[in-house]
Every structure is written in C-alpha cells, then in structure tokens.
Amino acid sequence: MENRIRVLLLSAALVMAGCSSLPWRDEDPEAAPEPASAEDGETPVVIEPQVERREIRPARIDTENWEAGLSVGSLSVEDFEVNIVYGARIAYHINEDFFAEGVFGQSDAGLSSFERLSGGAPLLTDSERRFTYYSLGFGWNALPGEIFLGGRRALNSTVYLTLGAGSTRFAGGDRFTLTAGAGLRVLVKDWLAVHLDMRDHVHEIDVLGSNKTSHNYEATLSLTAFF
C-alpha cells in the first residue's frame, strides 16, 4: 500500500516535470541554438544583448525674446510745462530686425502760461492734470552696432525707430494717440539693457477752447532685462 502511493506520487511528479519542461522549449527555440546552425558556418548567438536604449531628453535652451523694464525721464505736455515721467515698457523681439512693444507712462502736468499769468481759476483739477498714456506698436532696429569704451571693451547697441498707437488720459478725457520715436539700446550685459528714448505723443485736444493737435515730447532713460 505504502509502495503503491509512493509510485503514484513519483510518477505524478515525473509527468508534471515533463509537462512543465516541454512548452518552455517550444517557446524559446532561439535561446538554445541548435548545434546544426553552428555547423552551417553561422556564428552562434551566445548572448542576446539586453541593453535598453536610453531616452535622453536634452535640456531646453533658454530663449530670451521678451524684454521688460522701467523708465524715468521728462515729458513736455504741450502748454503745461515739462515734468518728470515714470513708466514701464515691455517688448517682444520677433527677429533681429523687428520687435513689438508696449509702453506705459504717467506724469503730473504743471500750470499753463495762461493760468500762471492770469492768476485766475485753474483750468484743470489736480486729477485732470495727471497725464497717463499707453502705446502699443512696432520697432525697427535700424542701426545695429557696437559702442567702444576705450580700446578693449565694446558693448552691443542698436538705434531703433518706433511707431505705435494708444490712448492718453489727460484733462478729463481719453484721447487716441499716435506715438513715434527713436531710441538707443545699449546691452550692458547679455540680459541687461539701457535705453535712451525720444518719443512724440500726438493727439487732438480742446482744453484751451478750440480743437488742436498737441505734440508731447518725451525723453526717457530706461533699464530693461531680457527673459
């Protein structure tokens, strides 16, 4: 009885071992190359290379097409004296020749000659005297070049022309304004620039009775960073 059980178990184990080994051989015929192929003259594959190709993601290159900064300067508001102006500018460099630009500025205009001489009631209230403008437009790097400081140092620079349109809030109303200008950009560092800008803000105004075209010249110095 004991012997018969032992034989049964052994034979079952044998069958299981045989079965489990069979399909493994069928599945992977290349893993164990047949000696016949070696006789044909082909080199037998000894080791299947199991190296995965590494996925290399190169670092993204830092693009610096945007430029933003702040400016300070003087603004001549026609009939209302020359005053200090604070502003901000942002530009997107489309290519080496052209850029799109937005400028914003704020100044407090002074007294007109009429108000000063007549000594009468002021024409405008303090809030109406605040001159705020924005302008959106294009610039053209007309004269790219270099500025030489002594014999060993050169700074990249560009003289550019700008043209834009926007709005000016002054004397209690918003006015459509065209802005034309020219400027010099000097790159102190690769990412840091100093600008010297001259702009003319042209709009129609009727604060002194009749409608007239007013030219408001502005000279600013600004510091901008590329990012």
Binding site: D62, L70, N95, E96, N156, A165, G166, S167, L223
Partner: protein, 244 residues
C-alpha cells in the same frame, strides 16, 4: 509711484539675473560655425568652430544662439548653422520653431487691432480659441476714442474660416456684447449709456512668419438702445496677432 517702480525694478533684475541655464552641449556638423559678437548679421565674426568640435548652447535670442566653445570663448551663431548640429545622443538638436503648418493647426490666438468705429478711433485686444480648424470662439475688449464720445466695449463671438489650409484665410464672424459710451460734453454733462449690441462681419487673416498673423476685418453693429430706434455703426480694423 517712484518707490513702487524702484521695488519692481529690483525684483525684475533679481529674477532676470537668476534665470541662467546650464546649457546644452552639441557637436558641430556643418563645416564650421561662425561665432559673432552679437545676435545680428551686422556683428563681426570673431571666432570659428570646426566640424566635430563641441559647443555649449547657453541661450537663444530670436534666430541667434549664444554658444561657448571648449576654450571658453563665447559668441552668437545663426539658426541656419545650428540646424545640423547633433546632441551627444547622436540625434539632431531640436529647434521647435512654429511654421506655416502650425498656422493651420493652432488652437489659441492673441492679437491687437486698431481702426475706426463709427467715426471714432478704436483699439481692440482679442483672444481666440479654436474648437476645430474652421470654428473658433473669440473674446474682444475695445477702447473707443472719439471727438464727441469715449467708450469701452466687450464682445463674445464666433469666427468661421471656410478654408483653413490657405495662407491668406477669409473668415466670417458674428457675436454680441456690451458697449458703454460716455459723451464728451464740455457744457452739458450727459450720462454714460450702457447698451447691448450684436455684430456680423468678415475679414482676412494672413500668415506672416514664425507665429505671427496679420489680420484685417470689417463689422456691422446694431446697438439695442432703450430709445425708439436702434443705432447702427460699422467698424474696420487692422492689426497683428500671434498664435500658440
């Protein structure tokens, strides 16, 4: 105001100063690379890197790449010479510049237009989102600056492009919005009016270069006033936009 500007300037400079990258090393495949002193064709060539040498790309400005060679010399190289360079893995350096095909397939668009609205000057900023190649939704805000009145308008509309494959695409648009008009009265102060309006229009969009579009359009407006008669106005505008 001056103090605020000074603070903003400090923040700006510190952020810009930190934003430096390690760079990407590439192998030169063209016969040589010409390194210039500045990012422009007018700047002199001061150094040449030969085929097979490695350079590190530090940054890019418009079509110019700022590179550093093995000897530590720096200069600006044009995109046309960088297109063939290889990264250490042996593949080409990827320069993902938008092209004409992206103009057909793009989803988002932002632009700026100026023109004339019923005799007054108008400045409009708009954003558009394309649902598919033909149909997109648009949101626009306008500032209206006239001799007799000022105002603002905001509009929501749809634009249909019949042939999105063309470089110059005609389009049709319609939508609705709100307009606020403030008459300019020096003697009599007239109150501002806010009314709803609807428009139909059409125009042209043309692919310029890179991600830039030039756009011109004409619209017919009907302003639903609370008076007996509705007001009608027409508007034309031209401007530029970029897609992403």
């Amino acid at each position: 105001m001056a103090r605020l500007l000074a603070c903003a300037l400090l923040v700006l400079l510190s952020v810009a100063g930190q934003a430096r990258s390690e760079g990407l090393e590439v192998i030169v495949v063209d016969p040589f690379l010409e390194m210039r002193t500045g990012p422009g064709r007018g700047f002199p060539i001061v150094h040449v890197v030969e085929r097979g040498e490695r350079v590190r790309v530090l940054k890019r400005r418009t079509d110019w790449f700022h590179v550093q060679d093995a000897g530590g010399r720096e200069g600006w190289v044009h995109k046309s010479q960088m297109l063939e360079t290889l990264v250490p893995a042996g593949t080409r350096m990827e320069i993902d510049d938008p092209a004409r095909e992206d103009f057909t397939a793009h989803r988002r668009e932002v632009g700026l237009l100026i023109g004339d609205f019923g005799g007054a000057n108008v400045i409009t900023a708009y954003g558009a989102y394309a649902f598919n190649a033909h149909l997109s939704g648009e949101l626009a805000v306008s500032q209206i600056l006239g001799n007799f009145s000022d105002g603002e308008a905001a509009a929501l509309g749809v634009t249909h492009v019949p042939v999105p494959e063309w470089r110059i695409q005609p389009f049709l648009s319609m939508g609705t919005g709100m307009i606020r008009i403030r008459p300019k009265g020096t003697l009599v102060q007239t109150p501002a009016r806010t009314d709803q309006f609807a428009y139909v229009g059409g125009g042209l969009r043309a692919y310029l270069a890179r991600r830039f579009i030039i756009r011109a359009e004409y619209k017919e407006y009907v302003v639903f006033t609370d008076r007996d008669e509705n007001e009608e106005a027409n508007e034309w505008k031209i401007g530029f936009a970029f897609f992403f």
